[in-house]
């Protein structure tokens, strides 16, 4: 599906922030995605309208979160939200994995995520929670995404940290992206897309809906 058609569709125009409903805006996003280092990624501010983002956050706050801990991470998470019976979360998921939005993601990234295939969890990081360095590489994962529902300052921690790499191994943190409410970040899943979530400190709550678009 071409970008113009995707942007004019009911599902995209009712979800995506008006500022992105033009071909030029999407082309700018693509340009930025392609040039970003240490690997291609994008951080899209004001992804939805403020009201939509607040409605999504409110619905997510009603979901059940459980503790997740391993050698690699410590945080709280919901089950896959495909099972949510909250209308707005179900509609949000439909939007993200719609043909129309997938076409936009495909145009920006040059990749081929499949419509209808999406992992989607609510994740909550609180004081001392973290996710250590890894590459997300698992069969089928094509593009990783994070929709931020809270804002954290530098002192709160919780930044998404991207590593540069050499000979297939992460070397050092090259970029830090602090969470900003109603922002949508995404990157290609590659053997070298090494990243981590910085430890959260104090009373801050890092709330996201995140997961992966799937494809070849």
């Amino acid at each position: 599906m071409d970008i113009k058609t995707a942007l004019r569709s009911k599902i995209v125009s009712s979800w995506l922030n008006k500022r992105y409903l033009s071909e030029n805006a999407i082309i700018s996003l693509k340009t930025e995605f392609m040039k970003n280092k240490p690997f291609k990624h994008l951080f899209v501010k004001d992804f939805l309208s403020d009201k939509m983002a607040q409605d999504v956050l409110f619905a997510l706050s009603k979901e059940s979160f459980s503790n997740k801990k391993s050698d690699l991470f410590k945080f709280m998470q919901t089950y896959d939200l495909i099972g949510s019976n909250r209308k707005i979360l179900s509609e949000f998921r439909k939007f993200l994995c719609s043909n129309e939005f997938i076409s936009i993601m495909s145009f920006i990234t040059g990749r081929n995520p499949k419509s209808g295939f999406l992992d989607m969890h609510g994740t909550l990081y609180q004081d001392t929670d973290y996710l250590l360095c890894h590459d997300d590489k698992l069969l089928g994962r094509n593009i990783a995404y994070i929709f931020y529902l809270s804002t954290l300052s530098k002192k709160d921690g919780g930044a998404l940290r991207l590593y540069n790499s050499k000979a297939g191994k992460p070397v050092k943190i090259s970029k830090e992206l602090s969470p900003k409410a109603n922002s949508f970040a995404f990157f290609e899943v590659l053997p070298t897309s090494f990243h981590e979530v910085e430890e959260v400190r104090g009373d801050a709550k890092r709330i996201t809906i995140n997961g992966w678009f799937h494809g070849n």
Partner: protein, 186 residues
């Protein structure tokens, strides 16, 4: 350096406790060394040369490998507790600070064996992290409740692995000193 006499006297009892946990034979022995020996060990550990290693996918900590640590009667004591003759013990000393950790890596899985964990840190709160944690293939976690001058003996079977959990910001500038030793059976 000397093992606390109360432990030597109770070695056979320690063996019963060790094997009472069938999933992960283990025992933690508090005040393992006598006071003078512990102070000497703590001093020695802090004087070792440490190399800071930072490999984000596997670990970040400081280590002094092949540390020479002489504890009188340790091999014999261990032989009684595990019920098998100990041929050799090799020691590595670690210190962990805020942000340090290790991750179980498929590329560097340790063989089954007898692990010894000496905790040489006064004033540490386990909530800071830096704990030696064991995990099996089903995701069952076994935390080691170590403390200053404790020795934990673990029979790490096939499919059980060890890692240091992440040291969080509450550790501040404190360092957690831990000696990990591997006992080789005859």
């Amino acid at each position: 350096m000397e093992i606390n006499q109360t432990h030597i006297n109770a070695a056979s009892n320690a063996r019963h406790i060790f094997y009472s946990n069938k999933d992960l034979p283990s025992i933690t022995l508090k005040d393992f060394l006598d006071e003078k020996s512990y102070s000497a060990l703590a001093k020695k550990i802090k004087s070792l040369k440490y190399k800071i290693e930072s490999f984000p996918l596997t670990h970040k900590y400081a280590v002094s490998k092949d540390a020479v640590i002489m504890i009188n009667g340790l091999k014999d004591y261990l032989s009684i507790v595990v019920g098998a003759k100990i041929k050799k013990i090799t020691f590595s000393s670690y210190y962990l600070t805020q942000g340090d950790y290790s991750i179980i890596s498929q590329d560097a899985l340790e063989k089954p064996g007898i692990d010894l964990i000496f905790d040489i840190t006064p004033d540490w709160n386990d909530d800071f992290g830096g704990n030696a944690v064991f995990v099996d293939g089903s995701g069952e976690y076994y935390n080691i409740n170590s403390c200053k001058n404790s020795l934990t003996i673990v029979a790490r079977k096939k499919g059980i692995y060890r890692f240091f959990d992440y040291v969080n910001n509450y550790a501040g500038s404190k360092k957690r000193f831990i000696i990990i030793a591997n006992a080789v059976l005859s």
